[in-house]
């Protein structure tokens, strides 16, 4: 009998992953990682390393995340094969490259609803530093962004989020847009259809810069 597969996943992809499980009648054991780890790649790296080292049964480990600011570089397991989508960040994973616009700030619907969403951070800054300073901080954070884009991965009802998205965009002084993405890469990861969009890291090896430089899609 094959040893069980484990998924190590970013919390922010919970709805998408559960959607893929339901669609394909699968249910692997999942280790959920806090989405705020994404803000500090060193911490994310450490946490993924820790979780990978806990899994010793030899079953495949599916990393449901992306390179995330190089946090995944150097990750490997002595006993398991690791599979990781070959993308720079989650937005690239959900959207075709020709749909990604420079100057657009993307939120998945899960991200929009989370306490870490940028428009909610702004409220914290107002409380901490006053309205004028909060405005100046946001101007710095969003200096080169024009659009606030709600990325619909197809697992939620987009209409339920439009009002919140519009209000978030207006709070940040950005133009509101929506874009349709898909979960094809996550489906490939979970169903074992590992094509050229995935790194497959054999036991005893780890992901290196050379792997990344040869392969990251533009």
């Amino acid at each position: 009998m094959k040893p069980p597969v484990t998924v190590i996943a970013c919390q922010m992809l919970r709805d998408e992953i559960n959607h893929v499980f339901a669609k394909h009648g699968l249910s692997f054991s999942v280790v959920w990682l806090e989405s705020t780890l994404h803000d500090v790649p060193e911490k994310l790296h450490q946490k993924v390393k820790e979780e990978v080292s806990r899994i010793t049964g030899g079953g495949d480990i599916l990393l449901a995340m992306t390179l995330c600011g190089n946090a995944l570089l150097g990750i490997g397991s002595r006993t398991s094969r690791l599979v990781l989508p070959k993308f720079d960040d989650c937005i690239n994973m959900f959207l075709a490259p020709d749909k990604i616009e420079t100057g657009s700030y993307y939120h998945t619907l899960s991200w929009l609803a989370s306490p870490e969403a940028l428009h909610k951070q702004k409220d914290k800054y107002v409380e901490q530093y006053g309205a004028e300073n909060a405005e100046a901080i946001m101007e710095t954070l969003l200096a080169h962004y024009r659009n606030f884009v709600l990325l619909d991965t197809g697992v939620h009802e987009l209409l339920d989020y439009i009002d919140d998205g519009q209000s978030a965009a207006s709070k940040l002084g950005l133009e509101f847009k929506t874009v349709k993405g898909n979960t094809a890469v996550l489906e490939g990861l979970i169903t074992g259809e590992w094509n050229e969009d995935f790194y497959i890291i054999e036991p005893g090896k780890c992901l290196t810069m050379n792997d990344v430089k040869r392969t990251v899609p533009g």
Binding site: G69, L73, D88, N133, I137, L141, A143, H144, M209, G218
Partner: protein, 219 residues
């Protein structure tokens, strides 16, 4: 004590208190240059806490804003000779984000921080093509080029920039420091000299290079 109070107000990011204390200090006869130096100590402390992970990006931006307010109150701009740490320096410090990357928060924070500590910076902005960066390098000076990126896809353009410096014979005149989402591996790939320095180490590295070239020029 006035000094400690100002440092503490900067450190706790209380802009109104900083400005109130500055006016009081000016009335007591404090020299504006001395006040800038006191405020800089507060900014350094904020930087140290950020490097330790106890302060966050918004706090750093806020400390930069406070410093800029202080400069206005004291009627200085960032290039006022009185506040420049090395007025005789022949080293040019340039900052840019690499082509394809518009994420400049890290760059701006470092630019503000180094300016707040008296270094003169040329900020080339975001999404800088290798040709534009190479054009800005001063062939008659030593240069410190700080390239930053958030996206993995900007590593290629960073490498191209360094290669172009080599082609134009400018590499030996330029110390290349990369920051943002980088690592030792990225440093080797790009061909940079330093990577991922925290703000205070970056300041120390720049000032060491400036001092080396100052002493060489004196010889």
């Amino acid at each position: 004590m006035m000094e400690e109070a100002i440092i503490e107000a900067v450190f706790t990011l209380n802009d109104e208190e900083v400005i109130r204390l500055l006016h009081a200090a000016l009335e007591q006869g404090y020299d504006p240059i001395e006040l800038i130096q006191i405020v800089q100590q507060g900014v350094v402390k904020v930087g140290e806490y950020y490097d330790k992970g106890e302060y966050f990006i918004a706090d750093l931006i806020m400390s930069g804003n406070i410093f800029n307010q202080v400069m206005k109150v004291l009627h200085f701009d960032n290039d006022s000779e009185q506040v420049i740490a090395y007025p005789d320096s022949t080293t040019k410090i340039l900052f840019a984000t690499a082509r394809s990357d518009i994420h400049d928060i890290g760059k701006n924070i470092n630019v503000n921080y180094l300016r707040a500590r008296g270094l003169v910076i040329t900020d080339l902005g975001v999404d800088c093509a290798p040709e534009n960066v190479a054009d800005a390098i001063d062939p008659d000076a030593h240069n410190i080029l700080c390239l930053s990126c958030l996206l993995t896809t900007a590593h290629g353009p960073m490498k191209e920039t360094v290669e172009l410096l080599c082609e134009r014979g400018l590499r030996e005149k330029t110390t290349v420091i990369i920051g943002g989402q980088v690592s030792e591996e990225v440093k080797s790939y790009v061909g940079a000299d330093y990577s991922g320095l925290d703000m205070n180490t970056l300041y120390d590295t720049c000032t060491s290079i400036i001092e080396i070239h100052l002493s060489e020029n004196k010889k």
